[in-house]
Symmetry: C2
Subunit: 77 residues, 2 copies
Protein backbone atom coordinates (compact mmCIF):
# COMPACT_ATOMS: atom_id res chain seq x y z
CA UNK A 1 0.00 0.00 0.00
CA UNK A 2 1.33 3.38 -0.92
CA UNK A 3 1.13 5.92 1.84
CA UNK A 4 0.51 9.61 1.82
CA UNK A 5 3.01 11.77 3.70
CA UNK A 6 1.79 14.51 6.00
CA UNK A 7 4.49 17.16 6.46
CA UNK A 8 4.11 19.52 9.36
CA UNK A 9 6.18 21.62 11.73
CA UNK A 10 4.40 21.30 15.04
CA UNK A 11 2.45 24.55 14.79
CA UNK A 12 -1.08 24.60 16.25
CA UNK A 13 -2.65 24.70 12.78
CA UNK A 14 -0.51 21.71 11.83
CA UNK A 15 -1.46 19.63 14.83
CA UNK A 16 -5.16 20.25 14.32
CA UNK A 17 -4.96 19.39 10.62
CA UNK A 18 -2.89 16.30 11.41
CA UNK A 19 -5.60 14.95 13.67
CA UNK A 20 -8.24 15.59 11.03
CA UNK A 21 -6.26 14.01 8.21
CA UNK A 22 -5.31 10.92 10.20
CA UNK A 23 -8.91 10.48 11.23
CA UNK A 24 -10.18 10.88 7.66
CA UNK A 25 -7.62 8.81 5.79
CA UNK A 26 -6.66 6.31 8.46
CA UNK A 27 -3.43 6.24 10.49
CA UNK A 28 -2.03 3.26 8.61
CA UNK A 29 -2.24 5.18 5.34
CA UNK A 30 -0.36 8.31 6.40
CA UNK A 31 3.26 8.82 7.36
CA UNK A 32 3.66 11.89 9.54
CA UNK A 33 6.89 13.87 9.19
CA UNK A 34 7.72 16.72 11.59
CA UNK A 35 10.10 18.89 9.58
CA UNK A 36 11.18 20.81 12.66
CA UNK A 37 12.44 17.63 14.29
CA UNK A 38 13.44 15.82 11.11
CA UNK A 39 15.25 18.55 9.23
CA UNK A 40 16.96 16.09 6.94
CA UNK A 41 13.67 15.67 5.11
CA UNK A 42 13.10 19.36 4.31
CA UNK A 43 14.82 19.02 0.93
CA UNK A 44 12.69 15.99 0.08
CA UNK A 45 9.52 17.90 0.95
CA UNK A 46 10.53 20.89 -1.16
CA UNK A 47 11.43 18.65 -4.08
CA UNK A 48 7.95 17.14 -3.86
CA UNK A 49 6.43 20.61 -4.17
CA UNK A 50 5.66 21.45 -0.55
CA UNK A 51 5.48 25.25 -0.25
CA UNK A 52 4.01 25.50 3.23
CA UNK A 53 2.99 23.27 6.10
CA UNK A 54 0.84 21.47 6.90
CA UNK A 55 0.76 19.71 3.55
CA UNK A 56 -0.24 16.27 2.40
CA UNK A 57 1.72 14.55 -0.35
CA UNK A 58 -0.55 11.96 -1.96
CA UNK A 59 0.61 8.61 -3.36
CA UNK A 60 -0.01 10.12 -6.82
CA UNK A 61 2.57 12.81 -6.07
CA UNK A 62 0.13 15.69 -5.65
CA UNK A 63 0.63 18.17 -2.84
CA UNK A 64 -2.44 19.35 -0.94
CA UNK A 65 -1.57 22.44 1.08
CA UNK A 66 -3.96 22.47 4.01
CA UNK A 67 -4.88 25.69 5.78
CA UNK A 68 -1.70 27.58 6.50
CA UNK A 69 0.69 27.05 9.34
CA UNK A 70 4.09 28.17 8.13
CA UNK A 71 5.98 28.69 4.90
CA UNK A 72 8.92 26.46 4.11
CA UNK A 73 11.13 29.53 4.59
CA UNK A 74 9.88 29.73 8.18
CA UNK A 75 10.48 26.02 8.69
CA UNK A 76 14.06 26.40 7.52
CA UNK A 77 14.69 29.66 9.39
CA UNK B 1 -21.66 7.13 8.92
CA UNK B 2 -21.02 10.82 9.02
CA UNK B 3 -19.72 12.23 5.80
CA UNK B 4 -17.29 15.00 5.09
CA UNK B 5 -18.41 17.68 2.65
CA UNK B 6 -16.09 18.86 -0.10
CA UNK B 7 -17.06 22.35 -1.27
CA UNK B 8 -15.71 23.51 -4.57
CA UNK B 9 -16.54 25.82 -7.45
CA UNK B 10 -15.38 23.95 -10.49
CA UNK B 11 -12.01 25.69 -10.82
CA UNK B 12 -9.07 23.60 -12.04
CA UNK B 13 -7.47 23.60 -8.58
CA UNK B 14 -10.79 22.42 -7.15
CA UNK B 15 -11.21 19.57 -9.60
CA UNK B 16 -7.70 18.28 -9.01
CA UNK B 17 -8.10 18.45 -5.23
CA UNK B 18 -11.51 16.77 -5.47
CA UNK B 19 -10.02 13.78 -7.23
CA UNK B 20 -7.25 13.52 -4.64
CA UNK B 21 -9.60 13.82 -1.67
CA UNK B 22 -12.11 11.32 -3.02
CA UNK B 23 -9.33 8.88 -3.72
CA UNK B 24 -7.83 9.32 -0.25
CA UNK B 25 -10.97 9.31 1.86
CA UNK B 26 -13.25 7.16 -0.28
CA UNK B 27 -16.17 8.35 -2.42
CA UNK B 28 -18.77 6.99 -0.04
CA UNK B 29 -17.42 9.17 2.75
CA UNK B 30 -17.48 12.52 0.94
CA UNK B 31 -20.36 14.59 -0.31
CA UNK B 32 -19.25 16.90 -3.12
CA UNK B 33 -20.99 20.27 -3.38
CA UNK B 34 -20.36 22.57 -6.37
CA UNK B 35 -21.17 26.03 -5.01
CA UNK B 36 -21.27 27.52 -8.48
CA UNK B 37 -24.08 25.19 -9.49
CA UNK B 38 -25.68 24.86 -6.06
CA UNK B 39 -25.69 28.47 -4.90
CA UNK B 40 -28.29 27.79 -2.26
CA UNK B 41 -25.60 26.13 -0.19
CA UNK B 42 -23.15 29.06 -0.14
CA UNK B 43 -24.61 30.37 3.12
CA UNK B 44 -24.30 26.94 4.72
CA UNK B 45 -20.65 26.71 3.66
CA UNK B 46 -19.86 30.15 5.03
CA UNK B 47 -21.62 29.37 8.30
CA UNK B 48 -19.44 26.27 8.62
CA UNK B 49 -16.35 28.46 8.29
CA UNK B 50 -15.46 28.00 4.62
CA UNK B 51 -13.36 31.00 3.53
CA UNK B 52 -12.17 29.71 0.16
CA UNK B 53 -12.62 26.73 -2.09
CA UNK B 54 -11.75 23.97 -2.37
CA UNK B 55 -12.41 23.16 1.28
CA UNK B 56 -13.25 20.02 3.18
CA UNK B 57 -15.65 20.17 6.11
CA UNK B 58 -14.94 17.21 8.36
CA UNK B 59 -17.57 15.30 10.35
CA UNK B 60 -16.07 16.97 13.45
CA UNK B 61 -16.94 20.37 12.00
CA UNK B 62 -13.39 21.42 11.13
CA UNK B 63 -12.70 23.15 7.84
CA UNK B 64 -9.59 22.17 5.92
CA UNK B 65 -8.86 24.74 3.25
CA UNK B 66 -6.97 22.93 0.52
CA UNK B 67 -4.62 24.76 -1.81
CA UNK B 68 -6.42 27.81 -3.10
CA UNK B 69 -8.90 28.00 -5.92
CA UNK B 70 -11.16 30.94 -5.18
CA UNK B 71 -12.31 33.03 -2.25
CA UNK B 72 -15.92 32.86 -1.19
CA UNK B 73 -16.27 36.45 -2.42
CA UNK B 74 -15.29 35.22 -5.88
CA UNK B 75 -17.75 32.34 -5.65
CA UNK B 76 -20.55 34.75 -4.79
CA UNK B 77 -19.51 37.38 -7.35
Amino acid sequence: MEKSIFYHAGCPVCVSAEQDIIHLIGPQKVEVVHLGNDRGRIAEAEAAGVKSVPALLTPAGHVLHINFGASMADVKG
